[in-house]
Symmetry: C2
Subunit: 315 residues, 2 copies
């Protein structure tokens, strides 16, 4: 199969490219390198079934040229601004990198008759419903972040394009995803800060923000497991893990792995790390479990492994 | 109050401009005249509190200039491609005229500190849920038209911008709206076709598509009634009427009003008028009734009045 992975040089996309190559597929990786890096692709750059297209999926002309050249069988759309905190200051990045990429990809799929799509959505589409067990049927999706809004808008586009063009689309609503190739987020920030100053650590919010973290390799396994099991239309899953990890708990784990003691935590205060941050959520993952997939690592195990991975990468 | 009505020369917008002027407000009408016309504004064009800005709300530079000049207190966003059938062939018009206008308006509101917004949404955000009584808490919104997708994406944007910038937003999900200044849709098409050929009428679908139609002046009264009653955040209402009208029933009414007998109806067949058309839906309007508003005309009365209006306009 010829796979086009949009955002393929990014944190999650690069792992997906590796997994698709391992499974014997041809992989074209398209990335604008706004968050993705060639370093993430170092292990596969010379693979004979791999090719790299350095371009921006929000640009219709270059995207069309890519579709024409590659004639993909399956598109994996992981391009987005994944740094919610950054876009709180600059929402235009969500309009361009998160929503418009989806729109242009769907336009190309429509034009070139490509029928299969994987789309990376997010728990942020639900908004701040901290006291609700969030399942795929939860009503009143009300994003509080520009990121969540652009992803929910993307899901709406996918719904209409699926119906109008007989697509088969797999949508995963990711929780926090961590692991090797991480570029931002609490685990990454804390390690960087503690490398600079091992005595003190600034923690955004009150440290009690508690969310489920999935290990990126578990997530990739889920994509590979479901990618061929999608009926016509749009199929949505919450992808999640057992348990959840608090921000302070992650800081403790990082200090432990780094061999640091008596680090002083300075909390900036407030419930969320920044405006638009959802401090906690409860994710119902019964649907994906019933469909036959379970994560190997729970949330704390995912954090622990990621700390070890990131420390190795920074060494 | 200084009101900015985006899409103010269109079918619904032009009625709203009139009502706002009558209520003593200053009105700036912004329109790109893709569907709007100066003819719709003929009764208010010379009003001392009215001004017209011929520009496209999807263009950030001109929109910013307009916000800077007008410094509006309240924005009414009615700009959209409202012709769902047309955009089925050309989805890009929804990306630009429906979604991007919302995005650029919200960006300007954020930049200029404008806090109040009215947004015209649609029953099309629900998708094809013909056997469900649709209320504002119905889960799994799954648009089947590009129009519904762009409106649902706009609602998602409004949700995030409201939260991040402390906006107060009133969102109406319109059913079919009809009345003077109509530019397309079954009533308008049928009258035009019958003017050309009073012996036969082509009807898209099987004619049994049955939906609620609201008279535009009822809708305007609802906007005027609720516009100052909105708390901070986003408040959404299904706006609707009692009853529903079938396509064949509307054809019968038009023939009657035009004094035509024995018109032969030629059905193109199929449940919907075109792919992405939702052939029927049931709208729960308890929430807006409980909040104190009722439509004056039921669906068939709205159709009857509109036929008379349109015949008068075409005379």
């Amino acid at each position: 199969m010829k796979a086009l992975v949009v955002g393929g040089a990014g944190f999650i996309g690069s792992h997906l490219c590796e997994a698709l190559l391992e499974a014997g597929h041809e992989v074209a990786c398209l990335d604008n390198f706004s968050l993705g890096t060639k370093h993430n692709l170092r292990r596969i750059m010379d693979h004979r079934n791999f090719r790299l297209l350095a371009m921006d999926a929000s640009e219709p002309d270059s995207l069309k040229a890519a579709f024409g050249e590659i004639q993909p069988d399956y598109v994996f759309h992981l391009a987005a601004n994944s740094d919610i905190r950054a876009s709180a200051e600059n929402p235009s990045v969500e309009y361009r990198n998160t929503y418009t990429t989806t729109y242009q990809i769907l336009q190309c799929m429509r034009e070139f008759g490509v029928k299969r799509l994987f789309f990376s959505s997010t728990s942020a589409v639900y908004g701040d419903k901290r006291d609700v067990l969030l399942d795929e049927n939860t009503p009143n999706l009300a994003p509080v972040s520009y990121y969540g809004a652009a992803k929910l808008g993307s899901e709406a586009l996918i719904s209409a394009y699926s119906f109008m063009n007989d697509l088969s689309v797999l949508v995963f609503r990711f929780p926090n995803v961590i692991g090797p190739h991480l570029t931002h987020g609490a685990v990454y920030d804390f390690i960087r800060k503690l490398k600079r100053n091992p005595k003190e650590l600034e923690i955004l919010g009150d440290g009690r923000q508690t969310k489920p973290y999935i290990y990126v390799k578990d997530l990739i396994k889920a994509i590979m497991f479901f990618m061929d099991k999608v009926p016509q239309g749009m199929t949505t899953y919450n992808v999640g893990v057992e348990g959840a990890s608090s921000v302070t708990g992650m800081a403790d784990m990082i200090c432990e792995e780094m061999g640091l003691k008596d680090v002083k935590y300075n909390y900036t205060g407030g419930e969320g790390g920044w405006k638009g941050d959802v401090p906690r959520f409860n994710y119902c993952i019964d649907k994906i479990h019933a469909a036959g997939w379970h994560a190997e690592y729970n949330s704390d195990e995912a954090v622990r492994r990621t700390v070890q991975d990131v420390l190795k990468e920074m060494a």
